[in-house]
């Protein structure tokens, strides 16, 4: 194992002090002279034609500066799949039709929030209501009302995967089981509600400060919807209070802020309130998963046939990608010699679902893992053993999709079993107590380019100075996950510098190198990290050249950047400080600033990702057998994220994942009636609080990913998947009830126990 000076250390987060002191500025903290306040009028009906909109009374209200509807806008549809324009199904403001309760109908800019709010009440909209479709069953029935004219069967995307011989696989199986799972929608519930502030400069160019995970995507899509050139739009990401996949598309308030700023000539800011977030914000896809798996008696997997329907809500959002990924995750973790997948993305008259931490994996793996545990029980094999028997290993190929370049899955399973004392615990539990296991695999960024960027996926610029400092510029977006810190660690390690020697400018589309696709799919560490290494290599070539010349070094000497110096390896006296080396290069170039660029785009890496993470988790629960309340007593996790660049940061991701997984498994859900979200605040939307967090132990398995920077891969999303199946398994162990219909509520547990007694 290689030793590092900074990588692998608990370097304090860049932003920690500013956040702790309240000095960090988020978009809503920003104020510009003459700034107007924007608000959005939303549809109160789930499905309707807009007959008529009258904004005259709102416009007449003192303090109101501008009111816009879809008719005032260029009416350009957008969506993240630019490569397939058919899938771009959203207008910034409704044109002719509304498709869910909360759909954006009009926007107001006013002197203050009160006037803006009052103006919304004064806009008169006449709707002709259409029948609403509230689940995928109704939406896919023959003759169902059509939600988008271009899509007559309401199935906007389907994806098929097939390899091996599925029929043969099942015919050779000794044991086959078929189950249908329903998993529900949950909220990202990021602490910072969406906020955007737009300003028009003297030349008519737009600057947008916005709470986003993807400044580059917002820049491009905002330009196209405004009918502007991409580089006449500048997007800046201030501090962001979490995204989890909910802030990775252009959103109507971003468009409205920019469009209203152009119309009024004044800065305009929109900040959603929590009610709007719950009512209309993106969410994790609810899905129905029909899964058939076949095994040999000894537990060897023979075949899997997976059919999934995603409840996409009213627009595609990131649904097409989730559909695609579900199919890939369905084939992960274990060796399925024969596999078939059909995924369908279905429109309904509900708020659009989109990407959310795990991006199809929590749903797909819930089915995989619960079914695995069911099969283990029926086959009389320990759930740990059946996993070890089928686990993927380094070098495994998933036909047409990927080759797994590093995989410590088996080690993770063995470790978590050891940590949790799995074998003994299972034998010695009291009534009402249970223990369960769940596993995951996830991607370290996607290799697909449906956004159709013309730039590298990640890029880095390094400016080096004679005073020993460097300035690192990247479009990568720290949204609270800590990427600014981790990327600086990689750069500091590579150049032999200290953290304080590096200035970072990130996520400003006019200042940082083109491009970076943003923070999603757990791509940033691997991709932006590799871009840094590419840039650093070029810088080092120049520095090494200068030092080599200065000391007249034999060409066979290796050089290194270490401890603030550039020197011959093993001969530190043949070297100079980093700053002196930079000064020498600068002199050699007659004063020209020392600047290098680097980039990374995954190539020849299959169809999904350059690298997969793996891990296993065990949960111990106690169920109150009279009330059905399940409480998680302890979690154990062992995982393979490649080289751990910042252990505390990884543990933070794990804790956050457990909190989210806990809510997904046990308490969070959108209660809805006829398309209306009833849980619009944290009182009714039951997110676990700090007090509900179970104690947790973690081991990072030592592994090295050849494609990752310094061996690293992802740790931000995969960890969210194993928690729900582990808890479901533990609840089964405690009560006999198998949950095939998340969340696992006390009522369901009691009913399940009753049925088992019968």
């Amino acid at each position: 194992m290689q030793t590092y000076a900074i990588v692998g250390k608990n370097v304090p987060r860049n932003d920690a002090e500013a956040k702790a002191r309240g000095a960090a500025l988020y978009t809503d903290d920003l104020k510009l002279p003459g700034m107007l306040v924007g608000r959005i009028l939303r549809s109160p009906v789930a499905h309707a034609r807009i007959k008529h909109i009258d904004v005259s009374k709102a416009l007449a209200l003192p303090g109101v500066k501008c009111v816009i509807t879809g008719e005032d806008t260029p009416k350009v549809k957008y969506g993240n799949w630019r490569l397939f324009p058919d899938t771009q199904d959203e207008y910034p403001l409704a044109v002719d039709k509304v498709r869910f309760i909360g759909d954006e109908v009009a926007a107001v800019a006013a002197l203050d929030a009160d006037a803006a709010a009052e103006a919304l009440d004064l806009i008169e909209v006449e709707y002709e209501e259409l029948p609403g479709l509230f689940d995928t069953g109704a939406a896919t029935q023959e003759g169902a009302p059509v939600i988008h004219e271009y899509c007559p069967n309401n199935i906007s995307v389907n994806r098929k995967i097939q390899y091996g011989d599925i029929d043969k696989g099942f015919s050779e199986s000794d044991y086959i089981r078929e189950d249908t799972f329903h998993v529900h929608a949950v909220s990202h519930a990021y602490l910072e509600p969406c906020s955007s502030l737009a300003q028009v400069d003297l030349d008519g160019r737009i600057t947008l400060w916005t709470s986003t995970q993807t400044p580059y995507i917002v820049q491009c899509l905002l330009a196209s919807t405004l009918g502007m050139r991409e580089n006449d739009v500048r997007v800046i990401k201030p501090f962001v209070g979490g995204g989890f996949g909910g802030k990775m598309e252009l959103r109507p308030f971003e468009f409205c802020a920019a469009f209203l700023a152009k119309k009024t000539g004044r800065p305009v800011k929109f900040t959603l309130n929590r009610e709007e977030e719950f009512l209309t914000g993106r969410r994790r896809h609810a899905m129905t998963l029909h899964s058939k798996v076949g095994f040999k008696k000894d537990g060897t997997l023979m075949a899997k046939d997976l059919k999934i329907r995603l409840d996409g809500g009213a627009y595609n959002a990131m649904g097409p990608t989730a559909t695609f990924l579900c199919g890939n995750f369905g084939a992960m973790l274990y060796r399925y010699p024969n596999y078939r997948f059909l995924g369908e993305h279905v429109y309904t008259n509900k708020p659009p679902a989109s990407a959310m931490r795990g991006f199809g994996a929590p749903q797909s793996l819930y089915a995989t893992e619960v079914q695995m545990n069911m099969a283990a029980e029926e086959l009389g094999i320990d759930p740990v053993e059946i996993r070890l028997k089928n686990a993927q290993v380094t070098g495994d190929k998933i036909p047409d999709v990927a080759t797994i370049s590093s995989c410590a899955f088996k080690e993770s399973i063995q470790k978590v079993a050891e940590m949790s004392d799995w074998k003994n615990k299972r034998k010695n539990l009291k009534p009402g107590q249970g223990i369960g296991i769940g596993c995951y695999s996830f991607i370290s960024g996607g290799v697909f380019n449906w956004f159709n960027t013309q730039f590298p996926f990640s890029a880095a610029e390094i400016r080096a100075y004679a005073d020993g400092t460097v300035h690192y510029l990247t479009m990568a977006s720290d949204i609270g996950q800590g990427s600014d810190t981790v990327l600086k660690q990689i750069l500091a390690e590579e150049l032999g510098l200290r953290m304080e020697d590096i200035r970072i400018t990130s996520a400003d589309t006019a200042m940082t190198p083109q491009a970076d696709l943003g923070s999603w799919g757990s791509r940033v560490t691997l991709m932006a990290g590799n871009a840094i290494l590419d840039a650093a290599k070029k810088l080092k070539a120049q520095l090494f050249g200068a030092v080599s010349a200065r000391f007249n070094l034999n060409v066979i000497y290796e050089l290194e950047c270490k401890d603030g110096r550039v020197q011959a390896k093993g001969r530190p006296e043949k070297g100079v400080s980093f700053g002196e080396a930079v000064a020498m290069v600068q002199k050699a170039n007659r004063g020209e600033q020392v600047v290098v660029r680097g980039a990374y785009t995954p190539r020849d890496k299959g169809l999904v990702t350059p690298a997969f993470s793996f891990g296993a988790q065990v949960a111990e629960v106690e169920v109150d057998q009279e009330t059905g309340v399940a409480s998680v007593k302890q979690m154990w996790t062992a995982h393979d994220c490649g080289t751990v660049i910042n252990p505390k940061s990884v543990e933070g991701q794990l804790n956050g994942s457990i909190q989210m997984g806990l809510g997904y498994a046990l308490s969070e859900q959108f209660v809805m009636k006829d398309g209306q979200t009833l849980t619009t605040n944290f009182l009714d939307y039951k997110m676990p609080s700090a007090l509900d967090m179970p104690p947790s132990k973690v081991v990072h398995i030592d592994s090295y990913e050849p494609e990752g920077p310094m061996g690293a891969k992802e740790a931000g999303e995969g960890l969210v998947s194993p928690t729900a199946p582990a808890i479901a398994h533990a609840v089964h162990d405690a009560t006999g009830y198998w949950c095939k219909d998340l969340p696992i509520t006390p009522e369901k547990i009691l009913d399940g126990m009753k049925q088992n007694k019968k």
Binding site: D114, A115, A117, E118, D121, E626, T627, V629, S631, S667, V671, L678, T679, L683, D684, K686, M687, P688, S689, L691, D692, T745, P746, E747, L750
Partner: protein
């Protein structure tokens, strides 16, 4: 929507407050911690033209305990203070239990116990125990002072016996009788920090081996916090047994009138009334046995 404009006064004495309240007319509201009122006003569910803040009134603050008269909790007293007060913890453990369970730290540091009652939510955490413990409230207007039993206080969701010009000034809880015990039990879907989906307060006393003063109060299962009087009658004068506790709990469940909402289904609530009542009776009984010598 826009938060409507309103006036605000913060009187220093009860007299000034009463004067402002009477003069303020229809649109006047009392403001304690504001944790219910401001939320409702923000959503347009309550309108107000004048808010009279009572937290600045010295005389409405404080918790006083007298072994012969009992406990008095001033209307401006915070729920956090009730939860941590040594006399409450010692002599009224179930009252402290309910206060400690209410909301979260931030809210308990803002909200008052009186506000929790005056807001008259069916799920108000502090109502069941206070009902079970036979609490009374003192109510003052410019016309005079009256004292009423908490049993007669709640009229419906958000509705109480209080006239528009009256202020609840203190909550009075009688001292615990010898060999008596009380308990508070609740359940909520999210675990540690949550509004109760069902809550139960119970009080009972042992007279020899016979049960007396049995009071069972249920929350979140009817339009107001309610007493399960038929269940109480089954136990009053009887001897303790687990079978009896089961039977009484089943009766309480029959008496409850829950609805289905985003927090729980009616059926689950009814089932939980039975479980929680039994647990509350058991805890109260254990405490009564423990208090035998007190």
């Amino acid at each position: 929507m826009r938060l409507p404009k309103f006036d605000y006064v913060a009187p220093k004495t009860l007299d000034e407050a009463l004067k402002a309240l009477t003069a303020g007319g229809e649109g006047c509201r009392l403001l304690a911690g504001g944790t219910d009122l401001m939320v409702k006003m923000g959503h347009g569910l309550t309108a107000a033209s004048l808010l009279v803040a009572i937290k600045g009134i010295e005389g409405l603050h404080g918790i006083r305990f007298d072994p012969s008269k009992g406990l008095s909790i001033g209307a401006a007293t915070l729920i956090a203070e009730v939860a941590e007060h040594p006399d409450v913890l010692k002599y009224y453990p179930a009252v402290a239990q309910a206060a400690r369970k209410t909301a979260n730290t931030q809210i308990r540091n803002m909200a008052t116990l009186a506000g929790n009652l005056c807001n008259a939510a069916p799920s108000a955490d502090n109502a069941p125990v206070l009902l079970a413990r036979g609490a009374e409230v003192e109510v003052v207007s410019q016309k005079g002072t009256r004292q009423l039993s908490l049993d007669d206080f709640f009229n419906g969701p958000g509705q109480t016996e209080l006239a528009r010009d009256e202020i609840l000034t203190q909550i009075l809880v009688p001292p615990a009788a010898k060999a008596s015990g009380a308990s508070y039990q609740w359940i909520s879907p999210r675990g540690k920090v949550d509004i109760s989906a069902v809550c139960v307060g119970v009080n009972l006393r042992l007279d020899g081996d016979v049960l007396k003063d049995v009071r069972i109060a249920l929350g979140a299962v009817a339009p107001t916090p309610m007493r399960a009087t038929e269940a109480e009658a089954l136990m009053e004068g009887a001897k303790w047994s687990e079978a009896l506790a089961e039977q009484v709990s089943a009766k309480a469940s029959e008496e409850s009138r829950p609805i289905t909402d985003v927090r729980a289904s009616a059926e689950y609530r009814r089932r939980m009334v039975s479980v929680l009542t039994r647990r509350a009776l058991e805890e109260a009984h254990a405490r009564a046995v423990e208090n035998w010598g007190v």
